[in-house]
């Protein structure tokens, strides 16, 4: 349990370090004014805080920097929550006022806005297709061997994939099946699509249609969602501006990881399942390359169900208060917009 004074000092140190990226000494804290003690007193407290594990010393004669535990305490107990609200609200409201009309574009645009506002890297997880339902299915022949399968979801997203057609199946048969699908499977959630295909339609199709096996293979391929979630990344190069990443090699491994969709998915998906804001500091992220990074995530939802998440990746020395404020507003607004959109 920390004393009030210790909390003040810890808060001051984290604040200072966030904006300067330099170890902070007792004198500079004393001079800030909000902690009315002499450097000597502060030094004593700092020594205690270090013993408790909240601070670290790069070397004997340097100031202190927050440890992971220190950041965690700061985030959990000290972050001045509402500080960002007023300042940033304008930009975000202006963004939503633009009323872009495709979900995908909104998200993509939001990623850009986020990274520009924060100067960190933003990672947005698009609406989870699994939670949306089928609006329309279509199979469009390109030539005698191939066709494009188009799936439109209830949120207006369009997925398409090219499939090759077995020569045994005639065009008219194909059409029959597509019509059947559209009449029976519309409004079925995407993740149930395949199972319903077999359970509800299997029998009927087997009766009316020859080459059942081959046809099912085609449909299987067509309904398979290769990327069930889309990832939007923006401002990855902002990593390079952080002094702690001036070492090119380290930043290379981070940027490389950011190019890998599976890695990002793995980082964001746990957060997307439960609502609210989550902060993962340093090694709390699985990947050791992110040991010096923090990831703040929030979710947006439709009908109370979390649909996707928005995240900001930055150094552990991140402007937590500001970023959390911005993310909070954006996720609320995004949720509100989606609700308004799809009633």
């Amino acid at each position: 349990m920390l004393t009030e004074r210790q909390r003040m000092i810890l808060n001051a140190i984290v604040d200072d370090y966030i904006s300067s990226a330099e170890p902070v000494g007792s004198r500079s804290i004393s001079k800030r004014g909000d902690v009315g003690y002499s450097p000597a007193t502060i030094r004593n407290e700092m020594a205690d805080l270090e013993d408790l594990g909240y601070l670290e010393q790069p070397h004997t004669s340097a100031g202190r920097i927050p440890s992971h535990k220190g950041y965690r305490y700061y985030v959990d107990h000290l972050v001045p929550w509402n500080s960002a609200e007023t300042a940033e609200l304008g930009t975000i409201r202006a963004f939503f006022a633009e009323k872009l009309n495709a979900t995908e574009q909104v998200i993509q645009h939001a990623a850009m806005i986020l990274s520009n506002m924060t100067n960190y890297t933003s990672i947005l997880l698009g609406p989870e297709v699994f939670h949306t339902s089928l609006r329309h299915f279509q199979l469009l022949p390109l030539d005698d061997k191939t066709a494009v399968a188009i799936i439109v979801t209830s949120t207006g997203q369009v997925e398409n994939r090219t499939v090759s057609l077995p020569p045994e199946i005639s065009v008219s048969e194909m059409e029959k099946v597509v019509n059947l699908l559209n009449s029976k499977l519309v409004n079925v959630p995407l993740y149930k699509l395949k199972s319903q295909l077999y359970s509800e339609l299997g029998e009927e199709m087997q009766r009316h249609i020859s080459h059942y096996e081959e046809l099912m293979q085609v449909l299987d391929k067509a309904l398979e969602s290769d990327h069930d979630q889309r990832i939007y990344l923006s401002g990855a190069t902002n990593m390079l501006t952080q002094p702690e990443f001036k070492d090119v090699d380290k930043v290379k491994t981070i940027l490389d990881l950011l190019e890998e969709t599976p890695t990002l998915l793995k980082m964001l998906t746990p957060a997307s399942s439960e609502a609210g804001m989550q902060v993962r500091i340093g090694t709390e992220n699985k990947h050791e390359a992110f040991a010096n990074c923090s990831l703040i995530t929030a979710t947006y939802s439709l009908d109370g169900k979390p649909l996707g998440s928005i995240g900001i990746l930055g150094p552990t020395r991140m402007e937590y208060a500001r970023v959390m404020g911005i993310l909070g507003i954006l996720s609320r607004d995004l949720t509100a917009m989606l609700a308004h959109w799809y009633k």
Copy 2:
């Protein structure tokens, strides 16, 4: 006009510098063996080559490095063309053997292969949609206010965009129009779509359909291609491995530019119009941030018309021979594949 010996020496210097990134001295060239002269002789020639503008000296007591003019000469006259062929052919052939079946996926995958093979950054320009034609158009209502417009091109690419519907237009009218479009505009090149819409169908529609104005606005919006070319970037972070870009600030501006689609388009489009391979060295690229970069581009085509281009961006000290070899093979194979695909 360079003497044979000068060419040999220039060639040796560029080769050496490409692999070492260090200024190369007379002694090391003499020791290579392929130039059978003493360091002193080579020094004399090097001084001449510097006077002629092919070489540069970072400072008096350093070796020489190739100037832009030197690289240009190397690329134009000295590149050992066929050296790469045999070595790299395997990987590329294996790639095409996989027979991915959607143009888009092939290109995207090709970008990855390229950047992995070369350790540079690859920039691919997707098939220019303008040169393809309409296969199918569809307008799919989402709710009473919005609809998804879907355009399928002759190469199987699917474009989609959300449009908002004016309340005056009824669904049945909408359907009539879409049917009309499909019967009249299929196989029309995309870039002629809008003009044909007005010239061929305008009159007829005006006769049969009320709310002509509003409807045309919707169609205008639906047929507008926001990105008529898609850009695929891969291996941007490979820039970070080059010793000349160890300065984080410089590499930041480069990576930032690479995130801007318009910049990339501007860099690649001139190259995509004329067939063959192009090398732009250093300041030959418009952007001053690319003063230390070279861009090698090749085009792939369909029916003899260049469709798009593939490019490799690296430091001026690039492995020209290898990259040009790889690009040559890949562009030929890509062309062959497209030809085979769409007959």
